[in-house]
């Protein structure tokens, strides 16, 4: 567990994901006051059945998304290290999606701006429900100067890795 003062990071143990999507439900309820899977800042992908996993921002050390934004709509939270979106400034150009090594940011399905995990200002709802359920796929840890961008991988890349880890080489046929 973490103390309140320090910035956090959400550690992830993807192979344990049950695909219950309670993280999506909690995230979209918190941010949108609706159950809204595609508006959730954390989304569970399942291109290969059984190999479900959550996909969300890793807060890369060099924040390529923030650098790529042409209108300064993205900033870095001093408190949490999360990428914050100024929704009014965002022009929904998608440059941050292209800049992200994991193609994590995505448009809000109904509004003209990007959505990115904001770490719920330090107490992420997704982690809470994942822990409550005992899955422990998501855990909050102290943020250190580490290459978290390693975790910024596309859903296709992650799905392939997990599916092969689970099912072996025959998984190539399923992707």
């Amino acid at each position: 567990m973490t103390t309140k003062k320090e910035p956090i990071w959400i550690a992830r143990d993807l192979i344990k994901c049950s695909g219950c999507r309670k993280c999506e439900i909690a995230c979209s309820l918190y941010h949108e006051n609706r159950i809204w899977p595609e508006a959730s800042r954390i989304r569970v992908f399942m291109p290969v059945p059984g190999a479900d996993f959550p996909h969300f921002c890793t807060q890369c050390k060099n924040y390529p998304c923030v650098k790529a934004c042409p209108v300064d709509a993205l900033s870095i939270s001093k408190k949490t290290g999360a990428v914050l979106v100024k929704t009014k400034a965002c022009i929904a150009c998608g440059k941050c999606i292209e800049a992200c090594p994991g193609r994590v940011p995505h448009m809000h399905p109904a509004k003209n701006h990007i959505v990115i995990c904001d770490l719920c200002n330090g107490s992420p709802q997704c982690v809470k429900v994942c822990q409550e359920g005992g899955w422990n796929v998501l855990t909050t840890v102290h943020r250190r100067a580490r290459p978290y961008e390693l975790y910024a991988r596309t859903p296709e890349q992650i799905a392939k890795d997990l599916a092969i880890k689970m099912y072996g080489e025959q998984a190539e046929d399923y992707i």
Binding site: S18, C20, E38, G50, D52, R103, G134, P155, Y174
Partner: protein
């Protein structure tokens, strides 16, 4: 408009390729909710007057995929598949877990009605309000995993084109049929996620008869707005907190049943129910856990239980087989029922059933039936195209399953399901083989026997159910009991998983309904009027039946003959079902549900529920007259 609904249903006519949105009136939604209830109402309204003449496997049947207002809100998302059943000739509310119902509601549809039939294989692709009927020739004939991989790639690409600026959308959800559905096998399922199935009812065959290989759906919107989201949040937590206490299902799913239901309660099908007891420790849950489970918890939308496991065989002759769990029903029917007692054989057959799109319960039942006829010398090796289904011969059963899925040789006969196959074999062999058919009204009995009296079904659970042998919707008294059919109609109409109501105070799901829809629904109103009305329509349509088979309550509101044979071994050896008790229970049940002594809903019962039109059709029908004899 009532809160919690998208407010429209997609109707697709595959004969004319016409696509339209239809609206269902608020009063109908209030009375029938969604899923099973609404399906029953739609089917009665559209097909009721000509019901007896409707062939379930011809274009005149309609196929329904319906959510309910609780889908996606109540933890454990499902969707209900329905239509005129090619098994019972009535209506079955057959639900399948997964994200499909949630995606559909996020695409702003409460359901899909499919009418007519296509002249070539097609699949539907719903992207919010865009709906395409697309060619499926390239996936026709493909198994579950090939179908999902091919469609997955294709649909993800189409989504990229449809939403070029969104970024990465999640994959769409799919429902599909395997080769068995395409070949109109009556035990074919509508499947999802490789391993999930709407099995009871045989709607895979209906989908196949319409040449509809699959439906893909991507909804980018939110769930339809709930009346009181704050209360919904509270109730989700109440359900979760209660379910998190259910250590047994969370840890083992129903996978501990394969051994326990046989060894402890003597209610597991063993060798086509010739026994219900076994003590084969090789089939213990520890063996499944240590040898085949590769993922401890696998789940569907919002589910706190996560009863599923992913199982895979990594070495040996069954290498490469993947399935979920298997859960208890698959363990029993593709295990002891065929004389098989190892996890590897069980996973292999379960995976094969998934791939072919066969219902593991009902295909396991019909294969067990064939194996018993072989054991008794009624069916010979020649009759069975050279296959010798000896108990425990996994290769023989795999060969038989393939024959069934492709309707080849003996498979064509067994593909009719146990009851219809029994009629045909009996005629051909000039001997009564119905006594070996363990089914009720064309639907195989779920893997929970009643002879020991130690499991949950009662003496008339299957005999009087409007869904025949369906172990998830059993008849019993009191009518407002938590295990009664009227309680199950709530879950199937809601539409959400019935596992997430166990251990949760009953009040919660009614509170949930109010929080989502804004409408107060009292338990009294549900049990005395609304669910009761749905039950009566299901009963009426079941009795109208046809065209190939009609059920007479006197003959068919009955247990399979096997349940009157004493259990041959185990701690409950000698126990059987008392026929006098069944008659007495049936009388009490008929009385409670307002049916006359012949099992026909009374005019008074139907009129009180505003079902005068149904009463007229039912009473005019030839079945009523013949049933009085």
């Amino acid at each position: 408009m009532i809160k919690g609904y998208a407010g429209k249903i997609l109707e697709v006519n595959l004969s004319t390729q016409a696509i339209k949105d239809i609206k269902i009136g608020d009063n109908i939604l209030k009375d029938y909710i969604g899923g099973r209830g609404l399906a029953t109402k739609i089917l009665w309204d559209r097909l009721g007057k000509k019901w007896e003449k409707i062939d379930p496997l011809k274009s005149e049947n309609i196929l329904l995929f319906l959510t309910g207002p609780l889908t996606g809100y109540y933890p454990g998302g499902r969707i209900c598949v329905s239509g005129k059943s090619p098994q019972s000739n009535g209506v079955i509310g057959s639900t399948v877990a997964g994200e499909f119902g949630v995606e559909l509601r996020c695409a702003c549809y409460d359901g899909i009605i499919v009418t007519g039939e296509s002249n070539k294989p097609v699949y539907l692709f719903i992207k919010d309000s865009d709906v395409d009927i697309r060619d499926a020739s390239h996936i026709w004939g493909k198994d579950a995993k090939q179908t999902m991989a091919t469609l997955g790639r294709e649909c993800r690409e189409l989504l990229r084109k449809r939403y070029p600026k969104f970024g990465q959308l999640k994959e769409p959800s799919f429902l599909y049929v395997g080769p068995a559905g395409e070949n109109k096998v009556r035990t074919a399922v509508v499947a999802a996620k490789w391993t999930h199935a709407a099995g009871y009812g045989g709607y895979g065959a209906v989908m196949g008869s319409k040449k509809l290989k699959a439906i893909a759906v991507k909804g980018t919107g939110p769930l339809p707005k709930a009346a009181n989201i704050k209360e919904v949040k509270r109730l989700i937590k109440v359900v979760n907190d209660n379910i998190y206490e259910n250590v047994l299902w969370r840890r083992w799913g129903t996978g501990s049943g394969g051994y326990e239901v046989g060894a402890e309660t003597s209610s597991e099908p063993v060798r086509n129910w010739q026994d219900e007891w076994h003590n084969e420790k090789s089939f213990g849950v520890d063996q499944f856990e240590n040898r085949v489970w590769i993922k401890q918890s696998w789940s569907d939308f919002g589910c706190p239980t996560c009863c599923l496991k992913v199982a895979m065989i990594k070495t040996g002759r069954f290498k490469g087989a993947i399935t979920d769990n298997p859960d208890y029903e698959m363990q029993a029917y593709l295990g002891p029922n065929l004389g098989l007692f190892t996890p590897e054989e069980n996973v292999f057959l379960s995976s094969l059933a998934d791939d072919l799109g066969l219902c593991g319960i009902q295909t396991g039942n019909v294969m067990g039936f064939a194996a018993e006829l072989f054991q008794r010398g009624i069916l010979t090796k020649k009759d069975l195209d050279g296959i010798e289904p000896k108990w425990g011969d996994v290769e023989a059963f795999a060969a038989l399953a393939k024959k069934i899925a492709y309707r080849e040789g003996i498979g064509d006969l067994l593909a009719e399901g146990t009851y219809r196959a029994a009629l045909k074999i009996g005629e051909k062999k000039k001997t009564d083989v119905l006594k070996y058919a363990v089914q009720s009204k064309g639907i195989s009995i779920g893997a929970h026997g009643i002879r020991s009296g130690k499991d949950y079904p009662e003496s008339i659970s299957y005999a009087c159910s409007v869904q025949g042998g369906d172990h998830t919707s059993t008849a019993g008294l009191p009518l407002d009991g938590s295990g009664s059919e009227l309680s199950e109609i709530f879950n199937d109409s809601g539409v959400h998983c019935n596992f997430n109501v166990f251990g949760v105070p009953r009040k919660v799901k009614f509170d949930f309904y109010k929080a989502v829809t804004g409408i107060e629904l009292t338990q009294k109103e549900w049990y005395k009027i609304k669910a009761f009305r749905i039950l009566q329509i299901q009963r009426a349509l079941l009795l109208l039946g046809g065209p190939d088979i009609k059920w007479k309550p006197k003959t068919h509101d009955e247990n399979p003959p096997r349940f009157y044979e004493p259990l041959p071994s185990g701690p409950y050896k000698g126990k059987t079902v008392d026929k006098m008790q069944v008659e007495e229970d049936k009388r009490r049940y008929y009385n409670a549900v307002g049916w006359d002594e012949n099992g026909i809903p009374k005019t008074k019962t139907l009129e009180k529920l505003g079902l005068e039109d149904i009463d007229k059709v039912l009473k005019k029908s030839c079945i009523s007259k013949s049933m009085l004899k």
